[in-house]
């Protein structure tokens, strides 16, 4: 378990030092929201459906960028080989990378939610509290998937392009559930009414965290 803490601490320290990933994630989230505001037009900007959709588009794009960057740091000087050579378990490495990705994504999401409220003329009220667990579930699922897949795409030609092509279709169920639940939350619906959507997201998270944990050793290392 000390390996897990060491890798996570090292990733956070690197991030605090440069702030590159989180800043890039925030900037990208903001740009996506701005583009969607213009694309949707002023008339639809007040709708919670549009706001929820925009938030999730921002999240998917930011998450992709974050996942690409997270493994980039390990590629400098071939540090990933140093990690694979150490007694560290690949599964533990996956868990640590997942946690780091999750923390960066959470920070970027807080920023994205604030921008969404401003851009889409919403209010900071109780709906934000209901939005938080939905976004957290979405971030877990996406980080789990993207951490696994970026280990694949990072080692193939044109991998940066391949990551969205592989990740987005697989993420669809969590995306559908997340957008629907977020829209309901923003519209002020009670928590119980979105139970089914939350169940889908929980199922997705459990499945992909365990799949990543078990399969990660096959995508890093060797040859």
């Amino acid at each position: 378990m000390s390996g897990f803490a060491a890798v996570l601490r090292k990733d956070l320290r690197l991030e605090l030092r440069s702030g590159e990933s989180t800043l890039a994630l925030l900037a990208l989230s903001m740009l996506v929201l701005v583009v969607l505001v213009f694309a949707l037009g002023a008339a639809r900007v007040r709708s919670v459906d549009a706001a929820a959709g925009a938030l999730w588009v921002a999240m998917v794009f930011a998450g992709m960028l974050g996942a690409n960057r997270a493994l980039l740091a390990e590629r400098d000087n071939g540090a990933i080989r140093g990690l694979l050579l150490s007694p560290l378990d690949p599964s533990t490495l996956y868990a640590a990378k997942l946690c780091a990705a999750l923390i960066f994504m959470a920070v970027a999401e807080v920023g994205a939610v604030i921008l969404m409220v401003l851009f889409f003329n919403l209010d900071f009220d109780a709906s934000m509290a209901r939005l938080a667990p939905i976004l957290a579930l979405g971030a877990v699922g996406f980080s789990a998937l993207a951490t696994l897949l970026s280990a694949i795409t990072g080692r193939t030609r044109g991998g940066d392009m391949l990551l969205p092509i592989l990740a987005v279709p697989i993420f669809v169920p969590a995306l559908i559930a997340g957008v629907k639940a977020s829209a309901a939350a923003l519209a002020g619906a009670p928590f119980e009414s979105m139970g089914d959507w939350l169940k889908i997201m929980i199922a997705f998270d459990v499945l992909f965290v365990s799949a990543g944990y078990l399969l990660f050793e096959h995508v890093v290392g060797g040859d």
Binding site: G3, A6, D76, G82
Partner: protein, 233 residues
């Protein structure tokens, strides 16, 4: 007589259609040092990577501590130190932070003290809190050596340990290699020229056309190397 630390049986490796290593038979015991010489691309680094378990052989077997390197359990990986062309260091961490991080990965009793000690041994105590990205190539090489030896591995694999080191740096690394052999580790290193390390008997191998050959006399290799370089390798 204890079992060999390194043993390869008819080891072969090819990238695509290009054979890099052929029929490599190597046996190294604990407390011995061996150097492999050979031109660029002769397969020296490939052999070290296979022994470290980072690459799989195309044919034959590579055994380290009696274990197949294709699936080395954590407790065997722990006893291997690899110093490769790439330093495995994080440019945005300081020298001390890099060593402490690897110390934690290898679950050393006191990563902080070990890092401090090794920084002193490789003569980087003054540069401990400088980020590695600001290091010169020679400093990075010394830190890379410290990183490889940090956990006192029983098998030390060094790829061009003297590359881009000045005289002092080479002395330091040579002393570390001697120290490792004296404490009973097995050291396998690659070099371009034949190294001299005072007080240590080194076996010398040469890789030529993918084959590993042992040389009793160092002069022979030196002459062979000169002839090959005259022919344009």
């Amino acid at each position: 007589m204890s079992a060999p630390v390194v043993e390869t049986r008819s080891l072969a490796k090819a990238y695509g259609l290009a054979p890099v290593l052929r029929e490599v038979q190597l046996r190294l015991l604990a407390g011995t040092g061996a150097f492999i010489v050979g031109g660029n691309g002769a397969g020296k680094s490939t052999l070290l990577r296979i022994l470290a378990g980072l690459e799989a052989p195309s044919a034959g077997h590579a055994l380290v501590f009696g274990q197949d390197t294709r699936r080395l359990a954590a407790r065997y990986r722990r006893r291997i130190g690899l110093m490769a062309h790439q330093s495995f260091l994080y440019p945005n961490l300081t020298a001390r932070e890099n060593l402490e991080f690897y110390g934690e990965l290898y679950s050393l009793a006191d990563p902080r003290a070990s890092a401090h000690q090794w920084l002193g041994r490789v003569g980087l105590a003054d540069a401990a809190d400088i980020r590695v990205r600001a290091f010169s190539r020679g400093m990075e090489q010394r830190l890379s050596a410290a990183r490889a030896m940090l956990a006192e591995p029983a098998l030390l694999l060094l790829d061009e340990p003297f590359a881009s080191l000045d005289h002092d740096g080479a002395e330091i690394v040579a002393a570390l290699i001697r120290g490792a052999i004296e404490r009973g580790a097995c050291v396998l290193a690659t070099t371009h020229g034949i190294p001299e390390i005072d007080g240590v008997e080194l076996a010398v191998f040469e890789i030529s056309r993918g084959r590993l050959m042992q040389h009793a006399r160092k002069e022979e290799v030196r002459r062979g190397g000169r002839i090959r370089s005259l022919l344009g390798r």
